[in-house]
Symmetry: C3
Protein backbone atom coordinates (compact mmCIF):
# COMPACT_ATOMS: atom_id res chain seq x y z
CA UNK A 1 0.00 0.00 0.00
CA UNK A 2 1.42 3.34 -0.99
CA UNK A 3 1.61 6.21 1.46
CA UNK A 4 -0.75 9.16 1.14
CA UNK A 5 0.69 12.34 -0.33
CA UNK A 6 0.52 15.44 1.80
CA UNK A 7 -0.14 19.14 1.16
CA UNK A 8 0.35 21.78 3.85
CA UNK A 9 -0.63 25.41 3.35
CA UNK A 10 0.08 28.35 5.66
CA UNK A 11 -2.70 30.86 5.08
CA UNK A 12 -1.23 34.14 6.34
CA UNK A 13 -3.18 36.49 4.08
CA UNK A 14 -6.61 37.88 4.85
CA UNK A 15 -7.35 38.73 1.21
CA UNK A 16 -10.42 37.20 -0.43
CA UNK A 17 -8.59 36.20 -3.61
CA UNK A 18 -5.59 34.69 -1.83
CA UNK A 19 -7.83 32.72 0.55
CA UNK A 20 -9.73 31.50 -2.53
CA UNK A 21 -6.49 30.31 -4.12
CA UNK A 22 -5.55 28.53 -0.88
CA UNK A 23 -8.89 26.75 -0.62
CA UNK A 24 -9.02 25.86 -4.33
CA UNK A 25 -5.58 24.25 -4.11
CA UNK A 26 -6.55 22.53 -0.84
CA UNK A 27 -9.76 21.12 -2.32
CA UNK A 28 -7.94 20.11 -5.50
CA UNK A 29 -5.22 18.28 -3.59
CA UNK A 30 -7.83 16.60 -1.37
CA UNK A 31 -9.70 15.44 -4.49
CA UNK A 32 -6.43 13.84 -5.64
CA UNK A 33 -6.31 12.03 -2.36
CA UNK A 34 -3.77 14.16 -0.54
CA UNK A 35 -3.89 14.61 3.21
CA UNK A 36 -4.34 18.39 3.37
CA UNK A 37 -3.76 20.88 6.20
CA UNK A 38 -4.36 24.63 6.18
CA UNK A 39 -2.63 26.42 9.03
CA UNK A 40 -4.37 29.80 9.52
CA UNK A 41 -2.10 32.45 11.00
CA UNK A 42 -2.16 36.25 11.31
CA UNK A 43 -4.81 37.75 8.96
CA UNK A 44 -5.58 34.32 7.54
CA UNK A 45 -7.34 33.56 10.80
CA UNK A 46 -10.18 35.81 9.66
CA UNK A 47 -11.22 33.11 7.20
CA UNK A 48 -12.24 31.00 10.19
CA UNK A 49 -14.31 33.67 11.98
CA UNK A 50 -18.02 33.20 12.37
CA UNK A 51 -20.07 35.79 10.51
CA UNK A 52 -22.15 36.90 13.44
CA UNK A 53 -20.66 38.63 16.47
CA UNK A 54 -20.15 36.28 19.40
CA UNK A 55 -20.29 37.83 22.88
CA UNK A 56 -16.94 37.24 24.59
CA UNK A 57 -14.97 39.27 27.11
CA UNK A 58 -12.01 41.19 25.66
CA UNK A 59 -9.58 43.98 26.43
CA UNK A 60 -9.85 47.29 24.57
CA UNK A 61 -7.09 46.58 22.06
CA UNK A 62 -8.47 43.13 21.29
CA UNK A 63 -11.90 44.70 20.75
CA UNK A 64 -10.41 47.16 18.26
CA UNK A 65 -8.68 44.40 16.31
CA UNK A 66 -11.92 42.43 16.36
CA UNK A 67 -13.83 45.36 14.90
CA UNK A 68 -11.26 46.28 12.26
CA UNK A 69 -10.77 42.79 10.89
CA UNK A 70 -13.27 41.08 8.55
CA UNK A 71 -15.62 38.60 10.20
CA UNK A 72 -15.46 35.52 8.00
CA UNK A 73 -14.57 34.91 4.39
CA UNK A 74 -17.49 36.76 2.91
CA UNK A 75 -16.28 40.10 4.31
CA UNK A 76 -12.71 39.87 3.06
CA UNK A 77 -11.48 42.18 0.32
CA UNK A 78 -9.26 41.69 -2.72
CA UNK A 79 -5.47 42.01 -2.67
CA UNK A 80 -5.62 43.99 -5.94
CA UNK A 81 -8.18 46.24 -7.63
CA UNK A 82 -10.32 46.43 -4.56
CA UNK A 83 -11.62 49.96 -5.32
CA UNK A 84 -13.42 50.30 -2.00
CA UNK A 85 -15.05 46.91 -2.34
CA UNK A 86 -16.15 47.24 -5.96
CA UNK A 87 -13.53 44.80 -7.24
CA UNK A 88 -14.72 42.21 -4.78
CA UNK A 89 -18.35 42.66 -5.87
CA UNK A 90 -17.31 42.31 -9.51
CA UNK A 91 -15.34 39.14 -8.77
CA UNK A 92 -18.31 37.66 -6.92
CA UNK A 93 -20.64 38.54 -9.77
CA UNK A 94 -18.33 37.13 -12.40
CA UNK A 95 -17.85 33.99 -10.28
CA UNK A 96 -21.59 33.52 -10.08
CA UNK A 97 -21.93 33.98 -13.82
CA UNK A 98 -19.31 31.30 -14.44
CA UNK A 99 -20.61 28.99 -11.72
CA UNK A 100 -17.42 29.25 -9.67
CA UNK A 101 -17.72 28.40 -6.01
CA UNK A 102 -17.57 31.41 -3.65
CA UNK A 103 -15.19 31.31 -0.69
CA UNK A 104 -17.65 30.35 2.07
CA UNK A 105 -18.65 27.25 0.09
CA UNK A 106 -15.01 26.42 -0.63
CA UNK A 107 -14.40 26.36 3.13
CA UNK A 108 -17.42 24.12 3.66
CA UNK A 109 -16.26 21.80 0.90
CA UNK A 110 -12.80 21.60 2.49
CA UNK A 111 -14.37 20.58 5.79
CA UNK A 112 -16.42 17.93 4.02
CA UNK A 113 -13.28 16.59 2.36
CA UNK A 114 -11.57 16.36 5.77
CA UNK A 115 -9.06 19.09 5.09
CA UNK A 116 -7.56 19.82 8.49
CA UNK A 117 -8.12 23.49 9.37
CA UNK A 118 -5.77 24.67 12.12
CA UNK A 119 -6.09 28.03 13.87
CA UNK A 120 -2.75 29.45 15.06
CA UNK A 121 -3.07 29.82 18.82
CA UNK A 122 -0.30 32.42 19.04
CA UNK A 123 -2.20 34.71 16.66
CA UNK A 124 -5.47 34.07 18.49
CA UNK A 125 -3.76 35.19 21.65
CA UNK A 126 -2.26 38.29 20.01
CA UNK A 127 -5.40 39.46 18.23
CA UNK A 128 -7.67 38.45 21.09
CA UNK A 129 -9.73 35.94 19.11
CA UNK A 130 -11.43 33.21 21.12
CA UNK A 131 -12.56 29.72 20.20
CA UNK A 132 -16.22 30.73 20.41
CA UNK A 133 -15.67 33.24 17.61
CA UNK A 134 -14.23 30.69 15.20
CA UNK A 135 -15.87 27.95 13.12
CA UNK A 136 -16.71 24.67 14.83
CA UNK A 137 -14.74 21.47 14.21
CA UNK A 138 -11.37 23.06 13.59
CA UNK A 139 -8.03 22.29 15.21
CA UNK A 140 -5.77 24.50 17.27
CA UNK A 141 -2.00 24.60 17.31
CA UNK A 142 1.20 26.61 17.20
CA UNK A 143 4.29 26.63 15.04
CA UNK A 144 5.28 23.17 16.34
CA UNK A 145 2.05 21.70 14.95
CA UNK A 146 2.76 23.39 11.63
CA UNK A 147 6.35 22.12 11.38
CA UNK A 148 5.19 18.62 12.28
CA UNK A 149 2.61 18.63 9.47
CA UNK A 150 4.75 20.31 6.83
CA UNK A 151 8.03 18.44 7.20
CA UNK A 152 6.57 15.20 5.82
CA UNK A 153 4.71 16.93 3.01
CA UNK A 154 4.94 16.88 -0.76
CA UNK A 155 3.54 20.34 -1.42
CA UNK A 156 4.13 23.12 1.08
CA UNK A 157 2.94 26.66 0.40
CA UNK A 158 2.82 30.03 2.18
CA UNK A 159 -0.08 32.12 0.94
Amino acid sequence: MSEKKKTTIVLFSGDYDKAMAAYIIANGAAAYDHEVTIFHTFWGLNALRKENQVPVKKGLMEKMFGKMMPRGTDKMSLSKMNYLGMGQKMIKKVMKKHNAMPLPQLVEMAQEQDVKLIACTMTMDLLGLQKEELLDDIDYGGVAAYVGEAEEGNISLFI
Copy 2:
Protein backbone atom coordinates in the same frame (compact mmCIF):
# COMPACT_ATOMS: atom_id res chain seq x y z
CA MET B 1 20.68 7.47 -14.11
CA SER B 2 19.44 9.93 -11.53
CA GLU B 3 16.03 11.50 -11.78
CA LYS B 4 15.63 15.15 -12.67
CA LYS B 5 14.83 17.52 -9.83
CA LYS B 6 11.65 19.52 -10.11
CA THR B 7 10.58 23.07 -9.21
CA THR B 8 6.95 24.19 -9.38
CA ILE B 9 5.88 27.79 -8.84
CA VAL B 10 2.36 29.16 -8.54
CA LEU B 11 2.48 32.77 -9.76
CA PHE B 12 -0.61 34.36 -8.23
CA SER B 13 0.70 37.90 -7.99
CA GLY B 14 0.51 40.49 -10.74
CA ASP B 15 3.30 42.63 -9.29
CA TYR B 16 6.36 43.34 -11.42
CA ASP B 17 8.83 42.61 -8.63
CA LYS B 18 7.16 39.37 -7.53
CA ALA B 19 6.91 38.13 -11.12
CA MET B 20 10.61 38.98 -11.49
CA ALA B 21 11.44 36.92 -8.41
CA ALA B 22 9.39 34.01 -9.80
CA TYR B 23 11.11 34.10 -13.16
CA ILE B 24 14.59 34.55 -11.68
CA ILE B 25 14.10 31.49 -9.48
CA ALA B 26 12.59 29.56 -12.41
CA ASN B 27 15.50 30.41 -14.70
CA GLY B 28 18.01 29.66 -11.94
CA ALA B 29 16.49 26.27 -11.22
CA ALA B 30 16.33 25.48 -14.96
CA ALA B 31 20.02 26.37 -15.26
CA TYR B 32 20.69 23.82 -12.51
CA ASP B 33 18.87 21.28 -14.59
CA HIS B 34 15.53 21.25 -12.80
CA GLU B 35 12.33 20.56 -14.63
CA VAL B 36 10.49 23.83 -13.96
CA THR B 37 6.80 24.73 -14.17
CA ILE B 38 5.17 28.11 -13.52
CA PHE B 39 1.43 27.89 -13.02
CA HIS B 40 -0.06 31.36 -13.66
CA THR B 41 -3.28 31.99 -11.77
CA PHE B 42 -5.36 35.05 -10.83
CA TRP B 43 -3.34 38.27 -11.37
CA GLY B 44 -0.26 36.26 -12.32
CA LEU B 45 -1.98 35.49 -15.59
CA ASN B 46 -1.25 39.06 -16.68
CA ALA B 47 2.40 38.09 -17.10
CA LEU B 48 1.33 35.96 -20.06
CA ARG B 49 -0.77 38.59 -21.83
CA LYS B 50 0.34 39.91 -25.20
CA GLU B 51 1.24 43.58 -25.18
CA ASN B 52 -1.01 44.61 -28.02
CA GLN B 53 -4.77 44.40 -27.82
CA VAL B 54 -6.19 41.35 -29.54
CA PRO B 55 -9.73 41.65 -30.95
CA VAL B 56 -11.90 39.03 -29.22
CA LYS B 57 -15.57 39.00 -28.29
CA LYS B 58 -16.28 39.55 -24.60
CA GLY B 59 -19.04 40.42 -22.18
CA LEU B 60 -19.03 43.85 -20.47
CA MET B 61 -17.54 42.67 -17.18
CA GLU B 62 -14.81 40.73 -18.94
CA LYS B 63 -14.02 43.85 -20.99
CA MET B 64 -13.68 45.90 -17.81
CA PHE B 65 -11.30 43.39 -16.24
CA GLY B 66 -9.36 43.32 -19.50
CA LYS B 67 -8.98 47.09 -19.45
CA MET B 68 -8.09 47.41 -15.77
CA MET B 69 -5.44 44.71 -15.72
CA PRO B 70 -1.91 45.22 -17.11
CA ARG B 71 -1.31 43.82 -20.57
CA GLY B 72 1.95 41.89 -20.27
CA THR B 73 4.89 42.05 -17.90
CA ASP B 74 6.13 45.44 -19.00
CA LYS B 75 2.97 47.16 -17.73
CA MET B 76 2.95 45.62 -14.26
CA SER B 77 3.66 47.73 -11.20
CA LEU B 78 5.66 47.17 -8.02
CA SER B 79 4.25 45.58 -4.86
CA LYS B 80 5.96 48.29 -2.77
CA MET B 81 7.03 51.87 -3.34
CA ASN B 82 5.14 52.14 -6.56
CA TYR B 83 4.44 55.89 -6.20
CA LEU B 84 2.14 56.04 -9.21
CA GLY B 85 4.61 54.16 -11.37
CA MET B 86 7.74 56.06 -10.34
CA GLY B 87 9.15 53.19 -8.31
CA GLN B 88 8.80 50.87 -11.27
CA LYS B 89 10.63 53.34 -13.54
CA MET B 90 13.43 53.63 -10.96
CA ILE B 91 13.75 49.86 -10.69
CA LYS B 92 13.92 49.52 -14.45
CA LYS B 93 16.57 52.24 -14.66
CA VAL B 94 18.64 50.74 -11.88
CA MET B 95 18.30 47.30 -13.49
CA LYS B 96 19.57 48.66 -16.78
CA LYS B 97 22.50 50.33 -15.03
CA HIS B 98 23.46 47.03 -13.41
CA ASN B 99 22.80 44.97 -16.54
CA ALA B 100 20.00 43.01 -14.87
CA MET B 101 17.52 41.35 -17.19
CA PRO B 102 14.07 43.04 -17.35
CA LEU B 103 10.97 40.92 -16.91
CA PRO B 104 9.96 40.47 -20.58
CA GLN B 105 13.42 39.02 -21.33
CA LEU B 106 13.23 36.80 -18.25
CA VAL B 107 10.02 35.31 -19.65
CA GLU B 108 11.67 34.80 -23.05
CA MET B 109 14.65 33.14 -21.39
CA ALA B 110 12.36 30.83 -19.45
CA GLN B 111 10.67 29.76 -22.67
CA GLU B 112 14.07 29.11 -24.26
CA GLN B 113 15.05 26.99 -21.25
CA ASP B 114 11.85 24.95 -21.65
CA VAL B 115 10.26 26.17 -18.45
CA LYS B 116 6.66 25.01 -18.71
CA LEU B 117 4.34 28.02 -18.54
CA ILE B 118 0.79 27.05 -17.64
CA ALA B 119 -2.18 29.43 -17.77
CA CYS B 120 -4.89 28.62 -15.23
CA THR B 121 -8.03 27.93 -17.26
CA MET B 122 -10.37 28.65 -14.34
CA THR B 123 -8.94 32.18 -14.02
CA MET B 124 -9.07 32.70 -17.79
CA ASP B 125 -12.72 31.84 -17.64
CA LEU B 126 -13.39 34.14 -14.67
CA LEU B 127 -11.51 37.15 -16.01
CA GLY B 128 -12.61 36.54 -19.57
CA LEU B 129 -9.11 36.10 -21.00
CA GLN B 130 -8.89 34.09 -24.20
CA LYS B 131 -6.05 32.05 -25.71
CA GLU B 132 -5.55 34.57 -28.50
CA GLU B 133 -4.67 37.21 -25.89
CA LEU B 134 -1.93 35.15 -24.27
CA LEU B 135 1.61 34.33 -25.37
CA ASP B 136 2.09 31.53 -27.89
CA ASP B 137 3.53 28.14 -26.94
CA ILE B 138 2.17 27.99 -23.42
CA ASP B 139 0.17 25.24 -21.73
CA TYR B 140 -3.31 25.35 -20.26
CA GLY B 141 -4.62 23.59 -17.19
CA GLY B 142 -6.51 23.73 -13.93
CA VAL B 143 -5.76 22.90 -10.32
CA ALA B 144 -5.45 19.18 -11.20
CA ALA B 145 -2.57 19.96 -13.57
CA TYR B 146 -0.92 22.00 -10.82
CA VAL B 147 -1.25 19.29 -8.15
CA GLY B 148 0.09 16.71 -10.60
CA GLU B 149 3.19 18.81 -11.28
CA ALA B 150 3.84 19.96 -7.72
CA GLU B 151 3.39 16.72 -5.81
CA GLU B 152 6.55 15.18 -7.25
CA GLY B 153 8.60 18.35 -6.85
CA ASN B 154 11.61 19.31 -4.78
CA ILE B 155 10.91 23.04 -4.58
CA SER B 156 7.32 24.29 -4.52
CA LEU B 157 6.52 27.99 -4.08
CA PHE B 158 3.47 30.27 -4.07
CA ILE B 159 4.41 33.77 -5.20
Copy 3:
Protein backbone atom coordinates in the same frame (compact mmCIF):
# COMPACT_ATOMS: atom_id res chain seq x y z
CA MET C 1 22.06 8.05 11.92
CA SER C 2 19.12 9.84 10.37
CA GLU C 3 19.65 12.87 8.17
CA LYS C 4 18.70 16.33 9.36
CA LYS C 5 15.48 17.79 7.99
CA LYS C 6 15.77 21.06 6.13
CA THR C 7 13.65 24.22 5.88
CA THR C 8 14.39 26.95 3.33
CA ILE C 9 12.55 30.26 3.28
CA VAL C 10 12.75 33.01 0.67
CA LEU C 11 11.95 36.25 2.45
CA PHE C 12 10.90 38.60 -0.36
CA SER C 13 8.57 40.81 1.64
CA GLY C 14 9.62 43.87 3.62
CA ASP C 15 6.49 43.84 5.80
CA TYR C 16 6.88 43.58 9.57
CA ASP C 17 4.20 40.91 9.97
CA LYS C 18 5.41 38.75 7.09
CA ALA C 19 9.01 38.93 8.32
CA MET C 20 7.72 37.95 11.77
CA ALA C 21 5.96 34.91 10.29
CA ALA C 22 9.16 33.96 8.46
CA TYR C 23 11.31 34.20 11.58
CA ILE C 24 8.76 32.43 13.80
CA ILE C 25 8.63 29.49 11.38
CA ALA C 26 12.43 29.53 11.05
CA ASN C 27 12.93 29.50 14.83
CA GLY C 28 10.27 26.84 15.25
CA ALA C 29 11.83 24.58 12.64
CA ALA C 30 15.29 25.13 14.15
CA ALA C 31 13.93 24.16 17.57
CA TYR C 32 12.72 20.92 15.98
CA ASP C 33 16.23 20.33 14.78
CA HIS C 34 15.86 21.40 11.16
CA GLU C 35 18.72 22.94 9.27
CA VAL C 36 17.16 26.32 8.40
CA THR C 37 18.08 28.91 5.77
CA ILE C 38 16.42 32.27 5.13
CA PHE C 39 17.31 33.76 1.77
CA HIS C 40 16.62 37.53 1.90
CA THR C 41 15.82 39.04 -1.46
CA PHE C 42 14.23 42.27 -2.73
CA TRP C 43 12.43 44.10 0.14
CA GLY C 44 13.20 41.24 2.53
CA LEU C 45 16.79 42.44 2.54
CA ASN C 46 15.68 45.34 4.74
CA ALA C 47 15.33 42.88 7.63
CA LEU C 48 19.12 42.56 7.60
CA ARG C 49 19.94 46.28 7.56
CA LYS C 50 21.70 47.83 10.53
CA GLU C 51 19.58 50.40 12.32
CA ASN C 52 22.11 53.20 12.21
CA GLN C 53 23.24 54.79 8.98
CA VAL C 54 26.60 53.50 7.81
CA PRO C 55 28.73 55.88 5.71
CA VAL C 56 29.30 54.26 2.32
CA LYS C 57 29.74 55.72 -1.15
CA LYS C 58 26.68 55.41 -3.42
CA GLY C 59 25.18 56.72 -6.62
CA LEU C 60 22.13 59.04 -6.45
CA MET C 61 19.55 56.36 -7.23
CA GLU C 62 21.03 53.96 -4.69
CA LYS C 63 20.94 56.77 -2.10
CA MET C 64 17.25 57.33 -2.81
CA PHE C 65 16.44 53.65 -2.39
CA GLY C 66 18.49 53.63 0.80
CA LYS C 67 16.48 56.53 2.21
CA MET C 68 13.06 55.24 1.17
CA MET C 69 13.48 51.72 2.51
CA PRO C 70 13.24 50.84 6.21
CA ARG C 71 16.55 50.44 8.02
CA GLY C 72 16.19 47.18 9.95
CA THR C 73 13.27 45.18 11.22
CA ASP C 74 12.11 47.70 13.77
CA LYS C 75 11.23 50.25 11.08
CA MET C 76 9.17 47.95 8.89
CA SER C 77 5.44 48.42 8.57
CA LEU C 78 2.49 46.02 8.43
CA SER C 79 1.15 44.45 5.23
CA LYS C 80 -2.42 45.19 6.37
CA MET C 81 -4.06 47.75 8.63
CA ASN C 82 -0.97 49.89 8.76
CA TYR C 83 -2.90 53.18 9.14
CA LEU C 84 0.22 55.35 8.82
CA GLY C 85 2.12 53.27 11.34
CA MET C 86 -0.64 52.99 13.92
CA GLY C 87 -1.33 49.32 13.21
CA GLN C 88 2.31 48.50 13.71
CA LYS C 89 2.36 50.33 17.09
CA MET C 90 -0.76 48.43 18.15
CA ILE C 91 0.76 45.11 17.15
CA LYS C 92 3.93 45.88 19.07
CA LYS C 93 1.93 46.90 22.14
CA VAL C 94 -0.27 43.82 21.99
CA MET C 95 2.81 41.66 21.48
CA LYS C 96 4.43 43.15 24.56
CA LYS C 97 1.26 42.57 26.56
CA HIS C 98 1.22 38.91 25.55
CA ASN C 99 4.99 38.47 25.95
CA ALA C 100 5.48 37.73 22.26
CA MET C 101 8.96 38.26 20.92
CA PRO C 102 9.38 41.37 18.72
CA LEU C 103 11.05 40.99 15.34
CA PRO C 104 14.56 42.23 16.23
CA GLN C 105 14.78 39.58 18.97
CA LEU C 106 13.42 36.91 16.63
CA VAL C 107 16.31 37.69 14.28
CA GLU C 108 18.81 37.48 17.15
CA MET C 109 17.32 34.18 18.28
CA ALA C 110 17.59 32.82 14.75
CA GLN C 111 21.27 33.73 14.66
CA GLU C 112 21.80 32.01 18.02
CA GLN C 113 20.09 28.89 16.70
CA ASP C 114 22.42 28.89 13.68
CA VAL C 115 19.73 29.70 11.16
CA LYS C 116 21.67 30.59 8.02
CA LEU C 117 20.79 34.12 6.93
CA ILE C 118 21.69 34.77 3.30
CA ALA C 119 21.58 38.20 1.66
CA CYS C 120 20.77 38.09 -2.05
CA THR C 121 23.77 39.66 -3.80
CA MET C 122 21.80 40.51 -6.94
CA THR C 123 19.36 42.61 -4.90
CA MET C 124 22.21 44.24 -2.96
CA ASP C 125 23.69 45.25 -6.27
CA LEU C 126 20.36 46.57 -7.61
CA LEU C 127 19.37 48.54 -4.52
CA GLY C 128 22.91 49.66 -3.82
CA LEU C 129 23.16 48.02 -0.38
CA GLN C 130 26.66 47.22 0.81
CA LYS C 131 27.97 44.63 3.25
CA GLU C 132 28.85 47.30 5.81
CA GLU C 133 25.17 48.26 6.00
CA LEU C 134 23.97 44.75 6.80
CA LEU C 135 24.13 42.68 10.00
CA ASP C 136 27.38 40.90 10.81
CA ASP C 137 27.81 37.13 10.49
CA ILE C 138 25.45 36.62 7.60
CA ASP C 139 26.08 34.83 4.31
CA TYR C 140 25.94 36.15 0.77
CA GLY C 141 24.73 34.41 -2.35
CA GLY C 142 22.63 34.47 -5.50
CA VAL C 143 19.86 32.32 -6.91
CA ALA C 144 22.29 29.39 -7.32
CA ALA C 145 22.92 29.36 -3.56
CA TYR C 146 19.17 29.39 -2.99
CA VAL C 147 18.41 26.54 -5.39
CA GLY C 148 21.23 24.49 -3.85
CA GLU C 149 19.75 24.93 -0.36
CA ALA C 150 16.11 24.49 -1.28
CA GLU C 151 16.27 21.45 -3.57
CA GLU C 152 17.19 19.10 -0.73
CA GLY C 153 14.68 20.60 1.68
CA ASN C 154 11.56 19.31 3.38
CA ILE C 155 9.81 22.64 3.81
CA SER C 156 10.28 25.39 1.24
CA LEU C 157 8.38 28.67 1.48
CA PHE C 158 8.23 32.01 -0.34
CA ILE C 159 7.14 34.78 2.02
